[in-house]
């Protein structure tokens, strides 16, 4: 029994000592910043995107400049907000959606420095005051060739035609993946007349096929049902469709039904390393690293001068190469979205949840 007492005491003491040490070790935290930048903290979405950016942009950047890039993923807007509000920004660079950089420009993000960036290198409308695009992605109608090969769906109206094209359908559970836009186009609204969004009309249209929808929120929730043939069609990221195709799946994309979106680099407000973060953005969005990123990931290079070497399947699924261009795709209205973000997302999620 005595042994046990001694053991407990020892454990407690060692626990306290360890805690004490950690406190001592971290006391230097948050003080640096007066001298030259030697380290940047990047917060991304994690996973493959982080891995690829590390290989194609961060490591070469460190070699060139001696500035190392620390990864602090996953990013969270809530976390960013707390940091900024308490004047304690520990991120120097983050990924963002153009809607977010528009909505929270100067509130959470620093305006970008355009001195060394050529606006014409990027697709029109994808540079915002607080964000520079890293890549383009596309959300489009995909369908199972094995099921509809002879007579494939070609328009978004077909997506809502459950008699001609029966089966379960993938559909985004977040309005920011442009769920309402797809419904309105299918209902006959012209792309240039989409905004302001007629939420009620879109939801009424979606109601007609609600019982056939399989909602996705996470990236994997798109690939798995396609690979398992649990759905016959869907509104999904083309990057995920490519992944399915590369794994031997039978899905194809109906170009012309797609919306093109951009993901951006943004610099959190209050960073002590703005200049270094800006040079990292300039480097990461230059043609060379952009091309390599495009080759490794199913997303198009944002810099239109990038010349990625893509194989046939990659080309077919690439929103900028595969028979598609900005002429037929529609681009979301980021300003409208930024102004009405809460309202639309709440209305849509209430519809989905109810």
């Amino acid at each position: 029994m005595r042994k046990r007492v001694v053991l407990t005491a020892l454990l407690t003491v060692s626990a306290l000592a360890l805690v004490g040490c950690s406190q001592g070790g971290s006391s230097g935290d948050g003080e640096g910043g007066s001298g030259d930048t030697t380290e940047l903290v990047f917060s991304g979405w994690g996973g493959l995107v982080d891995e690829t950016l590390t290989k194609t942009a961060f490591e070469p950047f460190t070699e060139d400049t001696g500035i190392s890039v620390l990864l602090d993923s996953p990013l969270s807007s809530a976390k960013l907000k707390s940091m900024v509000e308490s004047n304690n920004t520990t991120w120097d660079l983050t990924m963002a959606n153009p809607v977010e950089t528009t909505r929270y420009c100067e509130e959470l993000y620093e305006p970008v420095d355009m001195t060394n960036i050529n606006e014409d290198d990027f697709a029109p409308g994808t540079i915002t005051k607080c964000g520079i695009p890293n890549n383009y992605y596309s959300t489009a109608m995909v369908y199972d060739k094995d099921v509809f090969g002879a007579n494939p769906p070609t328009t978004l109206a077909d997506f809502f035609d459950t008699e001609k094209f029966p089966g379960k359908r993938l559909f985004p559970s977040d309005a920011l993946e442009f769920a309402l836009e797809f419904a309105l186009i299918a209902d006959g609204v012209k792309p240039e007349e989409l905004y302001p969004l007629d939420v009620d009309r879109a939801l009424a249209k979606l109601d007609t096929i609600k019982s056939d929808l399989v909602f996705w929120q996470l990236g994997d929730e798109q690939t798995q049902p396609m690979e398992a043939k649990a759905v016959t069609m869907g509104i999904a990221w083309t990057g995920r469709g490519l992944q399915v195709a590369q794994n031997g799946g039978s899905f194809d994309v109906a170009w012309g039904t797609h919306i093109i979106g951009a993901t951006q680099f943004a610099i959190p407000k209050g960073t002590k390393n703005f200049d270094a973060a800006m040079s990292l953005v300039e480097f990461a969005t230059s043609p060379e690293p952009q091309a390599r990123m495009n080759e490794l990931m199913a997303y198009s290079a944002a810099n239109l001068n990038a010349k990625p070497k893509l194989d046939e399947v990659q080309q077919h699924w690439d929103p900028l190469v595969g028979g598609a261009s900005f002429d037929v795709a529609f681009l979301p209205d980021y300003d409208y979205w930024a102004e009405n973000l809460e309202e639309i997302q709440t209305a849509y999620s209430n519809w989905a949840i109810g």
Partner: protein, 283 residues
Amino acid sequence: MNLITRAFRSKGVIRLLSVPALIVVVVFFVLPCIVLILESFGWPEWSFSGYAKDLIDPTIATVMLRTFGISAAVTAIALVISFPYAYLMTQVSARTRIIMIAIVLIPFWTSLLARTFAWMVIFQANGPLQSLLGFFGIQSEPVLGTATGVLIAMVQVLLPFMILPLYSSLSGIDPNYLRAAAALGANGIQTFFKVYAPLALGGVAAGTMLVFIMSLGFYITPRIIGSPQQAMIGQIIAMRVDKFLDFGGAGVLSMLLVLAFLVTMLVLGGIVLIARRFKTTWK
């Protein structure tokens, strides 16, 4: 020494034993929550508009009811599943008991994320479950994204939290009481309800509370296994924080959740009290 001894026997000093834990919880939990509550009232101003809006919002009401419904179902199923198991643990030989404890501890020590992930795989289209059912000639839809899936996964994830406190309390019941009851002529059912169940109540209460409360705040499992139609209140709170950076609105919902929980407990407590009163009068 004598002084210390006497001091330790007084209630006042014993009460002091809770002070260290109290300091940690108050400083690092209660204080942050108070700040959040203030924010839910629009601090530094003072307004009830957040509460007024959510209280009349039919979606919030639906999700709140669903959250309580799912949690109650999970708790009830877990209790029914666990009780015979925990009971058997007290009846078998020490060797069998060790195996039975091991079977509970293996999932218990495997992370919640890993187990939820396992269910995601099992329930997915053309996954093991569909294949198994197909093997028996049963055609079925994938369970991923349905209420059934959420329920099964939550029960399995929370089962150890029910079994362990149950067993810990059942094992403390002196079998002599049961023998005494039998010797006094009580039959099995009488013994169970009159002697065993009251003695087991501590463990039942602990396990039930634990599982119910954990279910109320569940967020990861319904998010991964369910579809939006199974969204629980934790997901709405997360959405407000993650997407809208609306800390005040998140505070409002969590206050409502806590209040709804307290009301439920009060009502249940009231029912128990009334029932007890009736029993005594009846006798």
